[in-house]
Amino acid sequence: MGSKAKPQASEAHLTTPTRLTGAEIVWATLVGEGVTDVFGYPGGAILPVYDALRKFPIHHTLVRHEQGAAHMADGYARASGKVGVAIATSGPGATNLITGIATAMLDSIPIVCITGNVSSKILGTDAFQEVDITGITLPVTKHNFLVNRVEDIAPAIRHAFQIARSGRPGPVLVDITKDAQQASAIFDFAAAEPRPYRPHPMLKVEASGLAHAAELIRNAKRPVILAGHGIMESGAMEQVRTLAERAQIPVALTLLGLGGFPASHPLNLGMMGMHGEAWVNHAIQEADLLIACGMRFDDRVTGSTSTYALKAKKIHIEVDPSEINKNIKVDVALVGDLRAVLEDLLPLVPGRDGSAWLKTIDASKGAVAVRDIKNLPDSGHLYAAHVVHDLWRITGGNAIVVTDVGQHQMWEAQYFHHEKPRTLITSGGLGTMGFALPAAIGAKFACPDKEVWVIAGDGGFQMTAAELSTIVQEGIKINIAIINNGYLGMVRQWQEFFYERNYEATPLVSPDFVKLADAHGISGRAVHTRAEVAEVVAEARSHNGSFLINFMVEKEDAVYPMIPAGNALHEMIRRPGKSPIVETPDDK
């Protein structure tokens, strides 16, 4: 930004200990940690920090709600692999961050949130806009700091970065009292370095464990690799691929694992779990060996644990010792960084002929694929699956797609085929509606040269739609696809299947999203038929500026297949035979 003072002057602080205010120390430390972008919202208790911002080479994005700041930091981290930073004031500013912090916690995303707090003298007095944010965020952060001495600011922030990015990553919050921001101290970046990272003492990869794992792989007839988010976090894409190719083992992915193994790879089965394709879940249930790589046997991927993969021996490669035997008992636990473990394991794994098992899986696809919507003739009707699939074809799969939560998220996972890591950004663990738009803004700042698409439902989009203004103020280009079915679709689907179609509180009135975009100065168009999709998507992509498309899709469509919560993995609701789609009353 043009108004910035010479950045060189501020970077001198990094090498020469200098007297700075606490507020300046906050920025100087962030600069030292390599931060270039932060997302935040000012307020009384953080004003000294905002006042000092102009002296430092950091770009600040003003959000419209602090939840957006946390999601932007999260999206930034997911797209770049770096630590995202969010800033908020005390009290309501801090509490508004919480949903975003919990989202990052459940998906192991490294973010650092910095909040101001009231002066230390009135801490704990219920002062104006005072809240115990370190107390509140304790269960949803990896760690947090309450800093009330200026000398502690730089060490706390540096330690926060170390914690956020190490081991199993996660969010860290640093709460700084206003008097600490206003006081001054000698800033010595090097001296503020945290103690050396202490790996979890229960990490354990023994030679005997590796040998046992290799033996299980050698003897397996029906092995499946289950790959999760850990592939990305540990950068083990190559190692997983080598393991799969050398031993000819098919790979099933979790939602957050999508992109960690190329969708087009012949050994890629696709997504497992509640909305995974039947053959994927059947392969897991029939397997005699599961090799879990950086995943945690979440209830959405296992279904009922008492009937999960009973025929399979299980190898669990995982960086967090508290995940071992948590949901599923395993036979071999290799507790360590996925990439490092696989590098140790690979020399022990010989080539293997897996063709018989692969053929069996392939045969089980059979009729299912025929009933898939993408193989059906165009009825002129617009289905969400079509929209997602067309988006994938038109963008060549090269875009970063940021989804919200619900039906469209599952259709994205099924019909947008991700070849590369960090191209799907989605809230998996917490399932946070309202995530897509702000997270996409963060992703765009992380990857300004990439095409970024938001895919959101009409419900979730309205939760954080105010961030449209942020897009305009920042002058960035984001393409927005709203999958508009007039319902809270996934909840409606559960009501359809499990609550006798009692559509209580799921029909949803929305604004005209194209007009809403227009009010923000963003162009947009509505799409009602499949025939229009390609042209409007092309217009959005070539448009100079953000573009919103309101896809008016089939209202009562459902995501298939589906495993009802608590059912066994193979007990799924399949795509209906006669008609793949539940028609609306209008069509009958």
């Binding site: 370190t134 107390g135 304790l138 269960p139 990896k142 760690h143 309450l146 914690i163 979890h200 003492p201 229960m202 354990k204 008492s306 967090d320 010792p321 508290s322 071992i324 035997n325 948590k326």
Partner: protein, 208 residues
């Protein structure tokens, strides 16, 4: 979940004694306690004090949880930034003690009866006032319970009881320094299967 697996899980409930070294700074106890709160596990007893390591407190935490939960709780405790060492003593040979202060209503007329009791229980009188006296007693939980029960059954009236909660230390050479050197702590089954080693201290049977 089937009924059989449920009852199996219930059977597996056992007492866990976690000994942890934590940084001596504000908020650490909340972090430790919060972990048990989240699992809805009641903390039966918790003692915290300084340890042989500067800047580190040692805590003993007793709770009931399934046998399998012990591993995960220990792993989760280790994930806390301020926790340095964790040992799940479980059934391993160890010494456990508790301190109790008991104030009993007593006049000069009926004091002698209490003195006798105190003698039998190897406790001590640490305060004597015209209408009350204070008993200090250390020992295992059952011994303290025994004294309280006898006092309750007699004519004496207990005015106040203050108990420290349990403090536990492994027998033999399993000091914190050894634990730290071992890195992973002492959960391994191999250790539980070394009773002979634990006998070397000559105290296989806990003296009452």
């Amino acid at each position: 979940m089937t009924n059989s697996s449920l009852s199996k899980e219930q059977e597996a409930i056992m007492t866990h004694t976690f000994v942890a070294y934590v940084e001596d700074m504000p908020g650490v106890l909340t972090r430790v306690a919060s972990l048990f709160r989240r699992l809805n596990i009641n903390i039966h007893s918790l003692t915290v004090g300084r340890s042989e390591r500067p800047g580190l407190s040692r805590l003993t935490l007793v709770c009931e949880a399934s046998a399998e939960a012990g591993h995960r709780i220990r792993a989760s405790l280790f994930k806390l930034e301020n926790v340095v060492d964790v040992d799940d003593i479980a059934q391993a040979p160890s010494v456990t003690r508790e301190l109790a202060l008991i104030k009993v209503a007593a006049t000069p007329q009926n004091r002698s009866q209490i003195f006798e009791l105190v003698e039998v229980f190897r406790a001590r009188i640490v305060d004597l006032a015209p209408e009350s006296l204070m008993i200090e007693m250390t020992g295992v939980e059952s011994k303290i319970e025994g004294l309280i029960q006898v006092l309750n059954e007699g004519e004496e009236r207990i005015l106040e009881i203050c108990r420290s909660g349990k403090m536990t230390m492994r027998r033999g050479h399993h000091t914190s320094r050894v634990l730290r050197a071992m890195g992973a702590g002492a959960e391994d089954k191999s250790e539980a299967a070394e009773p002979a080693e634990n006998l070397e201290a000559g105290a296989a049977v806990e003296p009452e």
